[in-house]
Amino acid sequence: MQLQSLLMPSVLFFLLGMLAQLVRSDLKMPPELVKSLTVYLLIGIGIHGGQQLSHASFGEAVPALMVALGLGVIVPVIAYQLIWRLSQLDKLNAVAIAAHYGSVSAGTFLTAIAFLESLNIDYEKYPVMMLAVMESPAILIGLYLANNVRNSINAETKGSVSQRWSMLHESLTNGSIVLLLGSMLIGDVVPEKNLQSVLPFFQQMFMGVLSLFLLAMGIEAGKKLSDFKKTGLFLISFGILVPLLLGAIGVTLGRELLGYSIGGSVLVGVLAASASYIAVPPAMRIAIPEANPSLYLTLSLGITFPFNVVLGIPIYLYFAQQL
């Protein structure tokens, strides 16, 4: 692995976006463009995943799905314990942050794929299913933990049963999940021949669009990063060390439990290590209004995301190669 081959356009565009913020440039991406890029990327990744799955049997996917669910349930619990014990944050803020780490970041996942492909490293096809499966459970665990906390402190704002149902509904019908699963299904059922017509758009353009998306994310991360004085040193270390820990766990699970190749294990590591910044924040805003959004947004978007994209992924790869 030569150093030069680490120079990937997508990561460099991410850095360019952060740099633009750093020098206080007025560079902006139109908000609707960023949302459009997200839609495109989710469909692109879905179709590609579905296409690959059409050659697989469902049975083979079961272990991957079990691991995904397991991660989605256990990661928030671990993260919660870590934050609450080690920081001075109150329990509800700790829950809200923890839930973000239980979920995933599609942007990080895609960067990892671009990274593996630029190094010609193969990877298994199941992690993309895991990505889809892992969006939701952490939200529900977050809600569950929050209710426990509230019961223990007899809080007024106890979530009602109807609220639980609405959170369950919301976490399962979240736009990005619907897009991802729907596109996977389409990629799976449409005969190869018919799929050809849409691939120039959804596949050949993919890496270019990803660069544009990461440029926008760089700008957003840069904005959040400047908030990090307020966040305090503990949270910054948390935002770096926890992904490292979770990434190691993920890679190990991929390698040892699922028996994946190096590439596939890196992807499982990334799923574990990455924190959601699209689906989970609004869910936590509704479920835990007492928590401070700028804490969890800064952590997931301003610290963990840049860390993973720039340093984490190569580290997980290095780790997987040592296993």
Binding site: V34, K35, T157, Y277, P281, R285, I286, P289, N292, P293
Partner: protein, 97 residues
């Protein structure tokens, strides 16, 4: 022209449906909505930027009869209490047509 109360409610956009449902319960079905509203208050900066509406405010403007004001206020207050926001009430005249 008749006198009405003009209610200007700024809340987080994720509460949009909640507000509409609560208003419907007290039979208020007329309102105007502004999306993509930014702001700053006790709960920090609100600015959708790249992540869209979910981190933005919306503004409802509701013109209602004087005698409806009380129930509107009672309906909106718990929402404001839970998630913050601003609610201004002023006098206005409604141009009959």
């Amino acid at each position: 022209m008749i006198g009405v109360k003009r209610i200007e409610l700024v809340v987080e956009s994720i509460e949009k449906n909640e507000v509409i449902q609560q208003l419907e319960r007290i039979n208020i079905r007329s309102y105007t909505i502004y999306h993509h509203v930014g702001g700053s208050g006790e709960r920090g900066l609100r600015d959708g930027s790249a992540f869209g509406e979910k981190f933005e405010n919306i503004t409802f403007v509701i013109a209602c009869a004087e005698n409806q004001l009380k129930s509107v206020i009672e309906t909106l207050r718990p929402i404001l209490k839970r998630y913050g926001g601003m609610c201004l009430i002023s006098d206005a005249h409604w141009l009959l047509h």
